[in-house]
Amino acid sequence: MLQWLMGWFAYAVAIWIFAVGLYGIVTSRNWIHLAICVAVMQSSTYVMLLSIGYRTGGAAPIFVDIPPGTRAVDPVVHALMLTDVVVEATVLALIVVLAVQIHRRTGTLDPDKLLELQG
């Protein structure tokens, strides 16, 4: 059990976060809440990436105090995650801006009430 926890729990958390984010988007009654749910969904990829790159007992990939060649975790996923975070923040900003504008123009943020675009 402990071994499973150490080995796979992080992946399970990533799956759970993605699922919860999606659930939040589908059942949301407020566009700002929806935007945050999108951000939650996006953060599942961080957990996924960082778990994949982790090395038990590995040092951070910063070789200031430790000599180069010390066993370290994977630096590539950290770089990917930095990019990921910026992408998330920017998409979030755009969604929130659109939500703010919708509120100003219609007085509501409820997706159920904003149904003017029907097929």
């Binding site: 729990f9 992946y11 799956i15 090395r55 990939p61 180069p68 370290a72 630096p75 930095l82 900003a93």
Partner: protein, 254 residues
């Protein structure tokens, strides 16, 4: 679809999605057993090749600098998008007395005012430090730029919108953002001019451990810091102006 049908269909398919995801993740190595090879190659190569001790920054601004170019322009594009979407439209007008409307902006108590103003300097300096030391310790343009951007925000928290606006003149900030973003792309051209590939590191590499080392990594990091700081300030300014100073003609929201 009615909400109940939607929820039922969604939950069923969500379980399917989770099952697929789990089945795939089960085939990964357990957490803590990263097999490489990409990370190990770079960990070994970054210090001797690039004279940086922070491998993550070396990846961000050198080995995979092209990704970071795209990422910086995602930030740039989003800030431009925010400016576009929050612009004052024809059915809106400026409030005559925004101070009265919002109760005079955030009412800062003396303690708050003192505290936030005292933070402005340290935040700016700390952000600058993070930017300049990105190639040595965790940090770099994005992280440091964000910290620098909070310094003008402290001015807003300490008083009113006008003071924030006075400190952040849009012309200067917009030019700064353009210089930061365009500069990164132009730094890539340095490589082409030197007869090598785009975004090649052509500046002198210096000595490992010095601030002025790692060639274009430092240059790009600084440019990114400028761009991120300027972009965030522009975006916040747009949000604040839109919320506090612009209203629909004919009164409040419908």
């Amino acid at each position: 679809m009615s909400p109940r049908i939607r929820l039922a269909l969604f939950v069923i398919s969500l379980l399917g999605f989770a099952a697929i995801f789990a089945a795939g993740a089960r085939e990964l190595k357990p957490v803590g057993q990263y097999p490489g090879p990409y990370g190990d190659v770079l960990n070994a190569a970054a210090v001797p090749e690039r004279h940086t001790t922070d491998v993550v920054t070396a990846i961000n601004f050198d080995y995979r600098g092209f990704d970071t170019l795209g990422e910086e322009f995602i930030l740039f594009g989003s800030v431009m998008g925010v400016l576009l979407l929050l612009r004052q439209t024809q059915d809106e007008r400026r409030k005559e007395n925004p101070e009265e409307e919002a109760g005079g902006g955030p009412q800062a108590s003396d303690a708050m005012r003192g505290f936030t103003l005292a933070l402005v300097g340290p935040l700016a300096v700390f952000g600058l430090y993070i930017v300049l030391h990105g190639q040595l310790t965790p940090g770099g343009g994005f992280q440091g730029g964000l910290i620098i951007a909070t310094a003008p925000l402290m001015v807003y928290l300490s008083g009113r919108l006008e003071e924030f606006k006075a400190v952040t003149s849009p012309h200067v900030i917009e030019v700064a953002e353009a210089v930061g973003a365009g500069g990164f792309a132009l730094a890539g051209f340095l490589g082409l001019l030197a007869g090598r590939n785009f975004l090649a590191n052509v500046l002198p590499l210096g000595k490992t451990g010095n601030v002025f080392s790692s060639g274009t990594i430092l240059l790009i990091s600084v440019l990114t810091g400028i761009e991120v700081a300027a972009g965030i300030v522009l975006a916040i300014r747009a949000f604040l102006e839109h919320a506090l100073e612009i209203e629909l003609k004919g009164g409040k929201t419908r």
